[in-house]
Symmetry: D2
Subunit: 313 residues, 4 copies
């Protein structure tokens, strides 16, 4: 498997979401119809990284992953079958055959090998606006049992780069796992789940994030700014968290580090160390710990670890 490549979000008002993701963030429309919007970021050549679908409720449709070569799709089919997960071959627009399955907590996952390719636009600088999103980076999900989630994703190739351990129980509180050579493609945090905590897009520099803040703050989106800007202890990334009109959370993200060495040692953080969350010390707001987006048709269950107290350094 190569990487997390796109996500499908159910949104209640396509025009409002278009204004947010296209007009404000700067994602590029690659296909649009009455009920759907396909978007790509500026250095991507795959057809889309985000699909917005008109929906009665705000929810997440599916997370999709690129595999390569084609034979790995069949290997994935065999793996998920052996794991006792439901599997199904389906056709998806702009892609070849797609394997639909789910993780042990019900997160809908799809795998494919081929997506339509579009000509490069990363040097069409007239298209750059908003936060200048370059590519999708990762998804972070609440899991009711992070140990179980990490064990499962590790079993088909994800590698842990950083993690937080609850010192008392010795259990995982949160973990970051990658395929593509950054800190993560997927992360899991203890909490009622499965729910999407956030989707992340990669941007060139912290100044683009400051530009976005200035713009959101003066175009009616000030209450959509949830947390940041700041530096995460974990991942070392410069971040901003914002909410779309339906409350789906996006992290604007840059400057984590390269993790391509397969023997790179995971970094362990203490649950009691508040700098793991914000290196600079400012605590995240309560909403950031509590709110998330449910997956369509997937029931959630309580977290296995008791909620941590929110502490400032």
């Amino acid at each position: 498997m190569i990487r997390l490549s796109h996500i499908e979000l159910g949104v209640s008002d396509l025009a409002a979401s278009r204004a947010f993701y296209v007009g404000t963030l700067g994602l590029q429309i690659t296909h649009e119809d009455d009920r759907t919007l396909y978007l790509r970021a500026l250095e991507e050549r795959g057809h889309h990284c985000v699909i917005l679908r008109k929906s009665d409720k705000a929810e997440v449709g599916v997370l999709r992953f690129k595999v390569f070569p084609e034979a790995d799709l069949d290997a994935a089919h065999a793996f998920f079958t052996a794991a006792g997960q439901p599997v199904e071959w389906i056709e998806r627009r702009f892609m070849g055959r797609t394997l639909r399955t789910q993780d042990p907590f019900g997160i809908p996952l799809e795998f494919y090998a081929q997506m339509d390719r579009l000509p490069p636009i990363h040097q069409k600088y007239a298209l750059y606006h908003g936060v200048k999103p370059l590519r999708i980076d990762h998804c972070n999900c609440f899991s009711p049992d992070v140990d179980a989630s990490v064990a499962f994703y590790s079993s088909f190739g994800f590698r842990v780069t950083e993690y937080t351990e609850d010192a008392e129980s010795g259990r995982l509180w949160a973990a970051w796992l990658h395929r593509k050579g950054g800190v993560h493609d997927m992360a899991f945090t203890n909490g009622r789940g499965p729910r999407l905590h956030h989707l992340a897009v990669w941007v060139p520099t912290p100044l683009n994030i400051i530009d976005l803040l200035d713009r959101m703050a003066t175009t009616g989106y000030v209450t959509n700014i949830e947390r940041g800007p700041g530096r995460h202890g974990i991942s070392n990334a410069f971040f901003l968290y914002i909410l779309d009109p339906d409350g789906h959370r996006t992290e604007i993200y840059c400057s984590d580090y390269q993790t391509v060495d397969p023997d790179l040692e995971p970094i362990k953080w203490d649950l009691k160390d508040p700098q793991r969350q914000t290196l600079w010390g400012a605590p995240a707001p309560k909403s950031w710990f509590e709110n998330g987006s449910t997956f369509a048709g997937v029931a959630t269950r309580d977290a296995s670890l008791k909620a941590q107290p929110i502490v400032a350094p």
Copy 2:
């Protein structure tokens, strides 16, 4: 009068203050003895912009202002005498004759025309480190009566650029006044006073502020980070507030705007608009509204307006 040019701070541990202002912020030492440290920023040619003086308690010695030409010193003497304020000619090291006086609330003020000049160092880039402080920008003080403070400073040449009005009483809550062509040399905020709220140094770009945050957060200064980074509504500046080892507050500041036109209209803000404080919406911590440094030997009195509730947008 030309500008606010320097401030004298009483500090309890000169070595700790040296580590903070020189080692971490990057101010340059221009004179040092057992009890005093003179510092300048990188584009300044005057001998110093900050004096740190060993003191039994953390307090502010004096604010000093450059006038030019020399004759304006005599005019200042006449003005403060006519205003009924105590005046005194004194000699200060590294400067010529100095007029010592005070404002109506007792803030110690000194005026001088000549300070020793040092060779330029703004292109000695090997000296740049820390946050790369370029120059002193302004001081912000709590005043028990902002209307009275503004009236007084305006009477000798300060011009208001922005202000916050309490809609009910029609009285000033806070005001920003300049001489040198930026948003302010001096600002006053309603509060128990007189007290110094903060001193501000100007830096090149927001990225230098991010560098400082990373450095402070990983060298034992994480609890000295009080507020920010953020964008002020008022002044439009990108800011960070940090505390020195004695709790004296410094604002790291960049990107306000030019105000040299004498007929530039002041911008009025509503006390109920939280974006005046942080354009992006995040509220300041309680300490930021409450804590300040007293001036040596000067009694404080209660604010004339009742404290505002701290609100998020």
Copy 3:
């Protein structure tokens, strides 16, 4: 006198100039008719900083300066009359009464006290695009006799901040003079003149200049990039020089230093030091030394000093 406030350029194709100054640079249109375009930068509240006027030939109309208070207009009238220069009171659109005169080499100068004020837009971040021009900074002109130009402008209040001297003759090669507290409002360089070398606009950070380069390079303007990006030795500014569709040169400029102290010593540079031009060493192209825009109806004469050899460090 307060500052250089705007310039009028004659352009051969208003639509092409509009695409350049508005679409690419990001100046804001404040008035537009068949033959004229009035533009302001993002932190300015005066009605305009650049006027583009349809013209048979590419040339410069006039440089205009704000004075304050109104009485200084009469003082200027007296000064130029005494200096033997032609003077005339005229009415200009969007301004009050205006004094038209010229400098000893014929550069058309106009002075006014009042310009229409527009509401602030510096926090309307949705308007920011292109290079995010904040304000007009300065004009630089070829002068056939820099000593004479500097003497004249100094006689009505300009102060020299930096200069280049021809060591052999002891004469000025170039000089930078300010009113508003930066390195310059006006600069003069030895050369066939009078001609405008360039107009400069101030931008927030070097990254905005890099963004402009990327955009110009990929939208048909690559040959309009003449020199840079780089750091000037003189002024310490980060710069880029670009050419508009008529060949008028604009400098995109940031990060010079504050010069408000009236006793700030000018910095002297040796004509043989190539780092005065580009601190980093790369030489300017020949065109940059030779090309300039004539002033409408003003004859030029040869430079008084022989052209310097163009040298790399």
Copy 4:
């Protein structure tokens, strides 16, 4: 194979090289003795990315590549043996067993699976200085036959991301090949070779490159600045080329793009398009096309394609 991981340079004056790579660039010393200096960049956990070795002449010792797992070392041994290249198992300090071999033109290559790991320092921000080098990125070499070089490296796993073709002959002029998911680990350019054109280090943002330029220009290194700053058309990277005291060239590099999809189509450039070299148009100096570092004990031969004329856009 995982990635290019380090390079060994022969230098004539270890103290001068130390001042350059450590004092000016900001690489960290991990081991030092009389004749050798081991350096790592700030986000690396492997023991070193550059080895400087005292040498009678300026030359390149070897390029080394990390493979994983250990079994891939044996596969590499088999591959190079089958390819008719000399192979040898050797022991290298701070690494496990190492395979020494060479490419068809004689470039000395070594492969290893294990290097000593050091604790992370990427959040020890007090160590960051100079250009804040984060990691080694790639090496670029002159090849007398780029087609042959590309064919060879492709046969053991490198993938071409961009290339320049000579339209007349249909032969490759230059090519960029990667393993780790960026634009390249190795590049080859037509020229007398084999010679190293440059080593590249990755830095966070273009502003760090501007800081380095300011510093080099004012600390005696102005003539070590060879080309830039600029944006490459190929790779889209923001670049600066500098020369160490022996003339070894380093590229300071940031902001290329992610290439992890194995089916990413290579981008083809026309040899006649000058924007492939500098998107913004400024031509590279002659030295940049001509100078390179020889590999120790390896004879060079003439380029197979005739030198291109150096053209500006």
